[in-house]
Symmetry: C2
Subunit: 339 residues, 2 copies
């Protein structure tokens, strides 16, 4: 192989939204696999809000990306060279291969991707970590019961759009919170949410009162900040708040604002619980099977926002997540030929 | 009866710490019971941080005390007049009789008090709502396991001192957070806490690291504010945070500060759950029986801070709670003869 690899490495710990100077673009000859390794040519990168957290110093559920290291990201690619007994050239695989064109892997944490089941972008979305996060977070942590009201923030995002649909499938009243009329219309018209709240329209309190007249039994939170605070005011007795993310706070330059109304947990005998999808790894097959079944029956819709600008534009495309510019799963396509 | 009743009524909704002008002192002839009612002469009033919340306007787990109404409080007294078939003169009873000398009751929510089991102050403390709050909050919501680290804030207060002792009885490492060396010494020397943290000494973070080297498995929170925020930084994986109270915020004139580090719930796959003892009413007999057994065996110690200044001084004595001036259960004694 004489191909060139290109990479985005972390150059500095961002303060606020990542700037161009926080990244280093590196071009170098593509690496060769050693014994027991293979080379993946990346086709699709999964762009996720959680990546912003990995760029920060400090204790978290995974170590931070080091300065000078290739930025961490999940992706799907094709094996183009192999000295690994179990993986052959031409196979499609998912793994945390990083923001680069070619990655070397020994197979650790790698999963085969069957694109006869669904196209690669769907496998990064509804049938990937995104769908599994919604599935286990909503069902195992949120424990919604038929007839209950489930409110999802970041509802037009990758995880939120799946969580709300699962709530609807389970017989709940699904209420989504999103920014702007187009997203809200998509939620109610296309995804079957019972109601949508446009937080950009203002008066979140009145909108919540109208859309969740009996209170909120399950709140699946992707955003944190003021929206979390308002929903806490509207909890029903025994409510479960699922902490999946806090995108409104990821680029905050001030220490994050805590939920001032957290004492509603006492008033309403409610709980707030954080989770990570990785803890459900043993049950991924169950989750994927169920999600695939819903997808096939048409009960669950998948939407990927695939940006085909290629690797060069990664820093800009990544910011779409924090500007609310994506609808559904944001994916960066690296190759032109597609799945 | 020709005795005079004296009452403290709520005159205004306090801003910050209640001021003298927020109360109205009323003297009027003691009421006479109608058919199906009895009159209680109050002997001991339970003074609790939660009473401050009842003085505020707005949605909570009980309606606020109305302006002009007798301040709500639990208490123990003796029946001095009765036209009720089930309650006779001379019986000792507990009920939410209010901050007054004589109360009329139809028996709703009233419990008989057996002072051969323990003196009346203990029945308002360890064997009353206080002990039951610690019992159900720690065991049912916190679910501590032997060997785990249980941290209790407000540990020298009425509920905290019992919660920490139950943690110790259950084989946990009990760590108390309290204000000042005397309280801390009381926790470790008298109550058998494994360690105590004096938050007034400063550097709470370092003290927590030292006292909970393996992280905090259960945090029983009575105070909220900065202490809650620091403990969240130190949660162990799968930790349970029990929200029992937030005394540091009850007199805040600004909107309360939310726990800025709540995303540690996600990092540590932890939960934060609020509860109210009233929801366990059916299991009170179980709780009282167990607490009495521990008390009798000497495993559990009771301490009441009985102030015998009488009803006149109620507004001042009530403030002791928020100034950290009581150790153990704060009780106002109204009669001189005692139990």
């Amino acid at each position: 192989m004489t191909a060139m690899n290109t990479q985005w490495r972390l150059a500095a710990r961002p303060v606020g939204l990542p700037k161009p100077s926080d990244w280093e673009y590196v071009e170098e000859p593509a690496p060769e696999p050693s014994d027991g390794q293979f080379t993946v040519q990346l086709e699709y990168l999964s762009l996720d809000p959680a990546m912003r957290g990995w760029m920060n110093e400090g204790r978290s559920y995974v170590p931070p990306v080091g300065i000078g290291e290739v930025m961490r990201a999940g992706g799907i690619g094709r094996i183009v060279d192999s000295r690994h007994a179990d993986y052959g050239v031409g196979e499609r695989v998912f793994g945390v291969f990083g923001v680069q064109r070619f990655a070397i892997s020994d197979g650790a944490g790698v999963m085969r991707v069957d694109t006869t089941l669904a196209p690669a972008p769907v496998q990064l979305g509804v049938l990937g970590m995104t769908g599994l996060t919604a599935y286990f977070g909503l069902l195992d942590i949120g424990r919604p019961e038929p007839g209950q009201t489930v409110v999802v923030s970041g509802a037009a995002g990758a995880v939120g759009s799946v969580a709300g649909q699962i709530a609807r499938i389970k017989g709940c009243r699904a209420v989504g919170i999103a920014g702007g009329p187009e997203k809200c219309e998509w939620l109610t018209q296309e995804l079957g949410f019972d109601a949508a709240i446009d937080y950009k329209r203002g008066d979140l309190r009145a909108q919540l009162r109208e859309c969740a007249p009996d209170g909120v039994d399950v709140y699946f939170d992707n955003v944190g900040g003021e929206i979390l605070d308002e929903v806490l005011r509207r909890l029903a007795r025994g409510a479960r708040v699922v902490i999946c993310g806090a995108i409104s706070q990821y680029n905050a330059e001030q220490p994050p604002k805590g939920p001032a109304n957290y004492m509603q947990l006492l008033v309403m005998r409610a709980s707030m619980t954080g989770f990570l999808v990785f803890d459900f790894a043993k049950r991924y097959p169950e989750g994927v099977a169920q999600l695939a079944k819903w997808l096939q029956s048409g009960e669950l819709r998948s939407r990927e926002d695939v940006v085909s600008d290629g690797l060069d534009k990664f820093p800009e495309v990544f910011l779409m997540l924090f500007r609310g510019e994506n609808t559904g799963k944001l994916i960066l396509q690296l190759t032109e030929d597609g799945p």
